[in-house]
Subunit: 315 residues, 3 copies
């Protein structure tokens, strides 16, 4: 594997999830692969789980890790082409990406969307500059429109904890006060559409995701209908795709509660985290026996390790 | 050892200090203990000595280290329970602590007091959330009311450099312009009260520490009386316990000078650092032959290493 | 080697460059040297290339690395002597440097000039405090007036890519909107004056560098004359030395373009980076076949590794 930016970079997602679960059983068996290899983790935005789990995955594989909070520790990056850099940006992403590629064997990059210009975000203008110029295998630590390491960890969690062969998985929109990216729901949707699951998306009218990510999913505005008999509920807020990046008024009743869990098949509740308690998801669910959010976060290590292992094998 | 948050977590402080001094002589003898083990260092506040010395201690033991400046690199943490998170905080400490525990074998946490609400600070509301939810052995990198790695390093320094069996150790208040936590003096006091030393605390009226930490100490408002014949002087500012977190006017004359050292038994001068020169402690003392502040800071490595070693042995 | 702060710390720059190129061929041959040795990288200012390349160099040598962004992660440093620290600074550089030296075997320090007080900058007041107090071998990661790791990497690049025995190397001033330090041009000049090259400096009137760094160089205000038949062009902005730290009006026509490259000997174009596109250097040159800026940045690893290797050998 040379690139891990979406489900389309993976030939067999089931096999990759199985490899992650195998690594969970035997984390240190492949340390020869990472010897004298360096992973660079480049953050243009905050990160806790991705930062720590990907580091841990690399260490398990015997790699060295260098972390760069590029705008804080390096230089303010210019992302646009064909400009005279006489403003506040100090280094162009073309040079920054190319230079970082000189120092590492594999690079991971996190870059959030601006949520202002849909065309720019959805063509992954910033992220693709890294892909184009860094010159080394690249793993997405979340881009404007996708978060594939999260989605792989989610698939791993479902494969690990499912109690029937083809579980019902529901992605449900949740309330929030700020506009959040569509990266996590987009990505989860496109992974689930390729997985052996019965996949439903539910959200209020106005929160339709781009259809590029939801081919094959059942989509409904009726949350109760969606939750009925669900095995896994993936809770997540996202801002509107149209009008782009907006929070629509209302919909506070979409927050998942214990009461609503009753109509499910004792569903396991997932969330990528961070989660705002009692706004996106009730404390009673988070602290209750159905929540697997911490377990799911733990699986981030094995997802990242499976991807890095395949990249190291292809170096 | 599963927890290192105060002197009460240690069964034999003299033996622990002796182990630290033994590690100082032979730092790399236990690298098998740390193989494939990861220490996570989580900072909610600045740190220089604790950050570097604890990293070094872990590296000496063969561990991997991941450092997280959580509010800067991760997400703004919510510390209160039972709130609707519709403000500026993005992640609750319950999830953050639990998730971090997924990625590390031992966690270290630094979290300063707010100095506004004594009840909240002295019940260690924030810190105890980490203890409760992280799920792995935890070492305090300084909490609201204690700094036990510092106190252990202080004990190590006294054991190493004492010239009589039972030295006289004096904790003296020093002036400052800002309200500082009581964590270092509290912690130093409770360690010294259990150590083989003759222990005196001196401070201006109004700066009484909580008596929970000072049982067995001689306490006086007369600095000269306290310093007489002292072998070690521990210089430190703290804000008032009552009224909580306040700086009382005056008391600038409490700054230690060379002149005052004359009444001591050629005392060694200690400070946890950072120290404000010529405000808390005179430059002439800091730069003079009696200061052991840098040596003391160096001993932070061996204190941390002794604690981490015992934690690794108990994993 | 105990100190690497300028060309004057090196006995044979040609041999050091040759060692760097040898390490480039066989990066991992000396990992026994770094075993249980720790490099501390201390940044008072931003860094991308220096930060990553020096880390990588140390890892190649088997060292551990600890990175400290001292003002952000540690404490605001006081740099002046003989003051009462009753302002915003929390720790004096004397203690900070001495303490950091307790935790590492070799220290690297970056500290930019203030560009306000030439005397202070050019006597390296801040930097020399680190040298004086840290107590361990020190490598400059760029100081107020020099950037020797960059200059060594530049020499390495020239030695590696030159097509005639004694190439013509030209340092040309480039436009900028903000006052930049003279550290890179000073340092490049003093290295080139000792190298086997024909060295010319060209800049607009008013941008004369301190003659302490340019002994032996040909200096001209005529850029075309300087560029004629050049093999290497080192592009760099700097602010005036007199009036100190000022940007003089005009001189935008000094930006290097493809058209101007025609008068050279198909010159390779160098820059230390970061570079402001279309302000300091045209995009057409940066993206064209003559630019070696990324290759040059890659050589930062081998320059740092050669220096660290010599320091480890002398421990």
């Amino acid at each position: 594997m040379k690139l891990f930016t979406s489900v389309n970079d993976v030939t067999d997602i089931k096999a990759l999830a199985a490899e992650a679960l195998q690594l969970k059983k035997d984390p240190y068996a492949h340390q020869h692969l990472g010897k004298n290899k360096t992973l660079g983790l480049v953050f243009l935005n905050p990160s806790l789980r991705t930062r720590m789990s990907t580091q841990k995955a690399a260490l398990n594989l015997g790699m060295n890790v260098m972390v760069l909070n590029v705008d804080k520790e390096g230089w303010a990056l210019e992302l646009r082409d064909n400009v005279v850099m006489n403003g506040t940006t100090v280094e162009h992403i073309r040079e920054a990406a190319a230079v970082m590629g000189q120092y590492v064997d594999i690079i991971g990059v996190r870059s959030f969307p601006g949520l202002k210009d849909r065309e720019e975000d959805y063509t992954e203008v910033v992220f693709n500059k890294f892909v184009e110029f860094c010159g080394v295998p690249l793993v997405s630590l979340e881009s404007a429109t996708r978060h594939p390491l999260q989605s792989l960890a989610d698939l791993v969690s479902i494969e690990e904890l499912k109690t029937r062969e083809r579980p019902k998985v529901v992605l449900t929109w949740a309330p929030h006060i700020k506009p959040l990216p569509q990266a996590v729901p987009n990505s989860f949707a496109e992974w689930m559409c390729k997985a052996d699951v019965d996949f439903t998306i539910t959200h209020p009218a106005g929160y339709e995701l781009s259809t590029d990510f939801t081919q094959g999913a059942t989509i409904t505005h009726n949350q109760d209908e969606a939750l009925a008999d669900a095995d896994f509920i993936y809770v997540k807020n996202w801002s509107a795709y149209e009008p782009y990046g907006k929070v629509l008024p209302g919909n506070e009743e979409w927050m998942l509660t214990n009461d609503r869990l009753k109509i499910t098949n004792n569903a396991k509740v997932m969330h990528c985290l961070p989660v705002r308690r009692n706004l996106e998801l009730s404390a009673e669910v988070l602290d209750g026996p159905n929540s697997i959010v911490v377990h799911e976060a733990g699986n981030r290590v094995w997802a990242a390790q499976a991807v890095l292992k395949q990249m190291l094998e292809a170096l």
